[in-house]
């Protein structure tokens, strides 16, 4: 497919948009993994939402 004399600009804009969207997706996923890991660590310590008044052990 021929994009004409300015193909570079078109590819660059689509490429940069793709990168930005990928970065957003990566941010969302990494953030989710981080929070879930933190929740899991806390749950391992015996602290979770389900049992609010139970301390350690």
């Amino acid at each position: 497919m021929d994009l004409g004399p300015h193909a570079g600009f078109i590819i660059a804009s689509y490429g940069l948009c793709l990168l930005t969207v990928l970065a957003l997706i990566a941010w969302v996923r990494i953030d989710k993994a981080n929070q879930e890991r933190a929740l899991k660590e806390l749950a391992d310590q015996g602290i979770s939402r389900a049992r609010p008044d139970q301390g350690r052990n």
């Binding site: 497919m1 994009l3 969302v28 929070q35 310590q45």
Partner: protein
């Protein structure tokens, strides 16, 4: 009312769980159709040639960065008036997405401008006010990051968001006026040429795809934010558990 039922964070998480796969599928499909149309069915522009294809991502991202700010403004009203926790979560998690869409609008606009106008950047009214919008987004993100207490940060950011919502139209008009003093309307305007339906359809499909993308990302980011606050609350509890631990440690004096 269904809305208020889902305003509870736990119910909200469940709703996201159900809704998200469908939204993601729909978003991907719309993008596939939109991109196909943008590259294969849409004709070249008689004036701009193939560079018109940049429009199919430029215009939707420009629309979306405005819509995202609207979402944030409504959420800010929710934070200030109803003091609803999810409103604050919604505003906070929309900001980075809005910034990314604004960035995309600026970059694609500038890459479109170079072959058309011969320069990457022009202090033209529209571009300038979008740049100001980007600074607003980034400033809001910085404000949220700087304040520890999410409640306080949410209120401060809500005030700034609403003031910005008032200010942005003013910027738009004043910049328009400022700009026309120096530059006659020689600039090719986006809204100048009437758009043909063979170009309009791909544009609308792409706009729909971008809107879906926004909602997918926003829901995911909101879920992360709810989880983050949960972690925060649990960590506070984890730290405060120490009281009995101290007593037991002092029963056997340190060696």
């Amino acid at each position: 009312m269904a809305f208020w039922d889902y305003a509870n964070p736990t119910r909200f998480l469940k709703l996201v769980q159900v809704l998200l796969p469908w939204l993601v599928g729909l978003c991907v499909a719309t993008f596939a159709i939109g991109l196909y149309m943008a590259f294969f069915t849409a004709p070249e522009d008689y004036q701009q040639g193939d560079t018109i294809r940049i429009m199919y991502i430029h215009v939707p991202s420009a629309w979306l960065c405005m819509m995202c700010y609207t979402v944030m403004s409504i959420s800010s009203i929710g934070t200030l008036v109803w003091k609803h926790p999810l409103a604050d979560v919604s505003a906070k998690s929309a900001a980075p997405i809005g910034a990314a869409f604004t960035f995309m609008a600026l970059v694609t606009g500038s890459l479109w401008g170079k072959p058309m106008w011969g320069t990457y950047w022009e202090w033209d009214a529209r571009m300038t006010s979008v740049l100001v919008l980007l600074i607003m987004y980034l400033g809001l993100m910085a404000l949220w990051r700087t304040m520890d207490d999410p409640i306080k940060a949410g209120k401060a950011a809500a005030v700034l968001t609403l003031v910005g919502a008032l200010n942005l139209p003013i910027i738009k008009f004043s910049v328009d006026w400022w700009n026309t003093l120096h530059q006659p309307a020689s600039v090719v305007r986006l809204d100048g040429p009437t758009i043909h339906s063979s170009q309009l359809w791909p544009l609308l499909v792409m706009a729909l795809a971008f809107t879906l993308l926004f909602f997918v990302l926003h829901l995911m980011a909101m879920r992360n934010e709810v989880l983050r606050r949960r972690v925060r609350a649990l960590r506070m509890r984890a730290a405060s558990v120490s009281r009995p631990a101290t007593a037991s440690a002092s029963a056997q004096p340190a060696e």
